[in-house]
């Protein structure tokens, strides 16, 4: 298996945004081969939770463990195995799709042109590879972000509303990517409103309540 012994745990996470206590004592764990779907109404703190997990936001209290080690003291090791797809696409409008992947995914992995083409093909935008990102549609931009996530070759995927702007085929693509990923022993955590792998055996749910 590609990602042996991968285990993610969050214990007693409390976080505030301004003067609102958003996350109250959130604890959960995700084992290899599992997909955790975080649901809940708007503003309940799904994005906040995902950003806290990534380390982009500080938690007031609580600890996060990756492979049994506290992330606080092993931040770089954790980041190397973390792939984050935020609700921003992290694309440069003036660069072509290929260049966007080369310059951003290339920070993590040494990429060849063939890697990039194979991934663009996988997400179904190979024919758009040399167009500047500004001329892609919203759904195609999302697909390009998914390509970046795939190229990161990370064990833990953190996905914030991954199917935003995607058509039916795109949603099926995201579902198949997640199933493949957890099938290889990876982990995925996603915040989603829409249907996403609702009947899959790998699915677990975490309902956030206001």
């Amino acid at each position: 298996m590609a990602f042996d012994g991968a285990l993610f745990e969050a214990r007693g996470i409390n976080a505030w945004r301004g003067d609102r206590h958003i996350l109250r004592d959130v604890s959960f764990s995700v084992r290899k081969g599992e997909f955790l779907k975080i649901t809940g109404p708007n503003g309940v703190g799904k994005t906040t939770l995902l950003r806290v997990i990534c380390g982009l936001l500080p938690a007031e209290t609580g600890d996060i463990y990756w492979r049994g080690k506290s992330v606080r003291s092993h931040r770089d090791e954790f980041n190397l195995e973390l792939g984050y797809l935020g609700h921003l696409n992290s694309l440069k409008a003036d660069l072509t799709a290929r260049e966007n992947l080369k310059f951003l995914a290339g920070l993590r992995q040494s990429l060849t042109a063939r890697d990039i083409d194979a991934t663009l093909d996988r997400v179904g935008i190979l024919s758009r590879g040399d167009l500047p990102a500004r001329s892609l549609s919203a759904g195609q931009k999302r697909r390009l972000s998914l390509a970046r996530l795939l190229l990161a070759d990370a064990a833990l995927w953190i996905l914030d509303e991954p199917v935003t702007n995607l058509d039916t085929a795109g949603i099926e693509l995201v579902e198949s990517l997640i199933v493949d990923h957890v099938g290889r022993g990876g982990l995925a955590i996603a915040a989603a409103h829409q249907r996403l792998l609702d009947d899959a055996p790998c699915l677990r749910r975490l309902e956030l309540e206001p």
Partner: protein, 228 residues
């Protein structure tokens, strides 16, 4: 696939910023145009008498260069933070300081280096003798480099603030005053026939301090900036 070495990653950042600048050259050219226009207007507003202009020439070139560099700072990090690229850099597993140093280096090549190269031309317009060119360029080389690095820290601190450009100027200007003082002093001393070594060495010392500590401070600032 294998992990990218840090040097390769930093090179990608550098090349990316030059590529982006090439596609939006009008934005990059703005500080240089400002620099040339300001220094050209000085003789028009004061006096065409070269001997009088020479007295203030070094200082005028330095002030214009400083303000032109400051003008370019606002855009240093804004776009990357707004579109989410910076989040990905923070999470890339690469040392953020090195990536940001590469970014500052690219920024300097695009905004600082053109000012240095243009300085003999604008200096001549202000009556600076050819003997002073070398010192003027060397002092600006060290000065603009330092300014890009210190400005990078300021840009990191203000990037989370809406309309942070005023704050950025207030934050950075006091810190770069020594550059202005030593830089214009070096040019003046050279023209007066004294050795400019003292102020130049001080400029170099400030430059190396900014170069070594700057990336650490800047990455700390950027981490706070992406939290919002």
């Amino acid at each position: 696939m294998k992990r990218s070495p840090t040097f390769e990653a930093a090179k990608l950042v550098f090349v990316r910023d030059l590529t982006l600048a090439w596609r939006r050259w009008d934005e990059v050219a703005q500080p240089l145009i400002f620099y040339v226009v300001v220094t050209t207007m000085f003789p028009l507003a004061t006096t065409p008498d070269m001997s009088q202009l020479r007295e203030i020439g070094g200082g005028v070139v330095w002030v214009a260069a400083l303000l032109a560099s400051l003008l370019a700072l606002e855009s240093l990090l804004r776009a990357d933070v707004d579109d989410g690229t910076m989040e990905q850099w923070v999470l890339s597993g690469q040392p953020l300081g090195w990536l940001l140093l590469a970014k500052v280096a690219a920024h300097w090549v695009l905004t600082g280096l053109p000012l240095v190269i243009m300085s003999p031309i604008v200096g001549t317009g202000l009556g600076l003798p050819t003997e002073a060119w070398g010192v003027l360029m060397l002092s600006l080389l060290l000065g603009t480099g330092t300014l890009s690095m210190i400005g990078g820290i300021g840009a990191g601190l203000t990037v989370g603030v809406r309309r942070g450009s005023v704050l950025l100027s207030l934050l950075v200007l006091p810190l770069v005053m020594p550059l202005l003082i030593f830089g214009s002093r070096a040019v003046q001393m050279q023209m007066d026939g004294d050795s400019p070594a003292g102020p130049l060495q001080l400029l170099a010392a400030i430059f190396f301090m900014a170069l070594s500590l700057g990336p650490v401070a800047m990455s700390a600032a950027v981490r706070i900036g992406v939290e919002s």
